[in-house]
Symmetry: C2
Subunit: 178 residues, 2 copies
Amino acid sequence: MTAAPSPIRRSTREAQIVAAARRIVEEEGGALTMRRLAAELGIQAPSLYKHFRTKHAVEVALIEQGLLELGAALHGALSGRGRGGMVPRLLTAYRTAAVGNPALYRLATSGPFPRAELPPGLEDWAGEPFLLATGDPCRAQALFSLAHGLVVLEIDDRFPPGSDLRRTWDAGAAAFAS
Amino acid sequence: MTAAPSPIRRSTREAQIVAAARRIVEEEGGALTMRRLAAELGIQAPSLYKHFRTKHAVEVALIEQGLLELGAALHGALSGRGRGGMVPRLLTAYRTAAVGNPALYRLATSGPFPRAELPPGLEDWAGEPFLLATGDPCRAQALFSLAHGLVVLEIDDRFPPGSDLRRTWDAGAAAFAS
DNA sequence: TGACGTAGCTACCAGCGTTAGCTACCGTGG
DNA sequence: CCACGGTAGCTAACGCTGGTAGCTACGTCA
């Protein structure tokens, strides 16, 4: 298992801003705007631009947090050697981490991926458990796509009402447990 | 195979507006705004509200079009009885239809699903091919999630550069080919 | 003391969805 | 023939968005 990449260094004020942004994003129905973020910190919106060049930069900082936590959860699920195969354990951990933080997950996975602005190696490290569970890069990507599709459809509430999501996840795991 | 549901009836002017909206959405990098949409029609933005109550209503009309076309493509792929199993044919058709109209696909599948505002039966009809290809509702939802995950990750360009997507789709199809 | 960087402020900009209120046209009934 | 109502356009405006310019107060260091 590769070591987790080190997060980007931030000043204390920057860390406070990211923490406030996270509070807003996790709060139900809270859209992240620069004015709301500033209000949460007791300052005016333009002052935020002394610390982050754009709103996108704030979002990237949140994405970095989310990927670190998701990666840690996935690696933990595989190293924990609980009962069941690697694929079901991986999917369970993925679902728990993502659905537990739906807004953060959506933020981190919608729109183009800010690969260049993230710590090098973070993406590979977070995705490594899929490679470990499948043994093949293409199968790993397919399994990841399945997990991602299941999560986004679940948190966007797109499955028809009355769906048995537990069994749907099981069916997905069964397909990839060879 | 169930018959395709009939689309919602629209006045000619409404149809023109939806067509213009589609033109904008399909044009590369074109975000749909009421002012742009109005300009495309040679009128002012507030006039659009004589025909559609909100911007969301225009989007729903586009979603209806997208679902009808996607459903037709999927049903066609299964009834065509080409070579290969049902699952690979279904996934190929899904990928082709979605990636060919990325902006429309994203519009139709991001955010909450406007189930109540769409023609009754449309959702079930468009999803029916997944049931036909798998024979089980939960497996169908899982396969659909896989296809959706693959598509959104592909059109958002989130796979690491150099990925062999052809083989990734094949790996997904193989997992679900019983 | 003077210079410089930090971190706040107010005032403002263009663009967004949307509303209010007005106007011109067009078909129909008295 | 003329008034009525519906249709479909218009301008002006509101409150929100991300973002910029330019000012100010404060702390540090030569």
